[in-house]
Symmetry: C2
Subunit: 214 residues, 2 copies
Amino acid sequence: MPFAPPVQGSPWLDPQDRSRLRARKREAVILAAARAFRDRGYHHTSLDEIAAGLGITKPTIYALFDGKEDLLFECFLAGVEPLRAAFREVETRGASGRERLLSVAHRYAVAITGEFGWVMVRVEGEDLSPAMSARIKSLKSEIDQGLRSLIRKGIADGSIAPCDPKMTAFALAGALNWIAFWHRSESSPAAGALDPKTLAARLLQVFESGLEPR
Amino acid sequence: MPFAPPVQGSPWLDPQDRSRLRARKREAVILAAARAFRDRGYHHTSLDEIAAGLGITKPTIYALFDGKEDLLFECFLAGVEPLRAAFREVETRGASGRERLLSVAHRYAVAITGEFGWVMVRVEGEDLSPAMSARIKSLKSEIDQGLRSLIRKGIADGSIAPCDPKMTAFALAGALNWIAFWHRSESSPAAGALDPKTLAARLLQVFESGLEPR
DNA sequence: ATCAGTCTTTACTCATGAGTAAAGTCCCGG
DNA sequence: CCGGGACTTTACTCATGAGTAAAGACTGAT
């Protein structure tokens, strides 16, 4: 009977469990990829290496993702999500522009020190097809516009000194993104390793006073 | 006569002109490579492309450089030199730590907007052999230590508010280096293109007031 | 004209790694 | 104990691009 009844009930394992399992596999691959990209760089990491690290083989990755680029994109998404969440959360608060901006910046900093910080910051359009590149650009731009908007609000409500919102957003984003370049190599070996929250607070100190009207 | 007299006077063209010509050729290749790396990324630029852009062929590049990596390193050197110069120049001045730091930062920003800014910021150890990587790390560390040292001097002479010199140096370096990521793609098309000096001034405004003791 | 030396090109080699096809393997229901 | 389906692996193909060897071309001195 080739034409099985196309009802929802599938055999042995129900579809829910199947897709859950698949999602877990995808997450494991994404995490392994993010670590490998961070440690060895995107171009110096082969899918064979990632697979080997998980005890599987390359075609299994292809069963879960469209290709290396797709995998990179998923890593990127995992990295931006906390940043978008930080903006969403602060949206509902009634604090001043300055307080909201600094709250976002703090969470931003902590996110960058995480597993996906490197990929998120360092993925550039050059590495991707035009379509993917456009999607990433759009997400990055959303973050940038969010920072500018909070700066503008802060200027408007008097909590931030008058400044060029675009340039100031770039300065702040740069200071935060740069964490991805030095954090791992600096903090791992020595005892002087700062925990992410302290790191964020000290890094942002210059912005805290620099944004304040005098 | 296989054994020509090993005196300094070489035939037809004297050695001075030869080496001058060679140096000019090297510079032309370095500049073309820096532009190509910036526009298409290091890994997506082949030596064939660079050569074609100059109207020559790949083996000619090999006559002037040891390989792609060597070429990348030379681009990096061309990029850091202005930064080192900025530190050297400010060394001899008697100004306060804060003034000296801001002077260096200003020149730093302008340098990053230049042709070699991208390569200097984005060259990472991953792309290079361990030996090259170590040389680059050392040069980058020199810049970083220079910033920290000026910050410490500023704190000592009272021109900079007490802060964590290491974190503050990272914040400043991040804001400056980040220029390389957005400058070209942003500024080229529109009429809103800031000239480097104005850009530097507006970007650094938040640091100018943020470093000041209150 | 010819020769020697320097520089440049044509025409390769060779390693790497993304992507794929086809053959297993495992698990459960009958 | 047989069959079918989801998943995984072995064993490829194929494009790219770094690096090189050997032949050619230009130069100016004799």
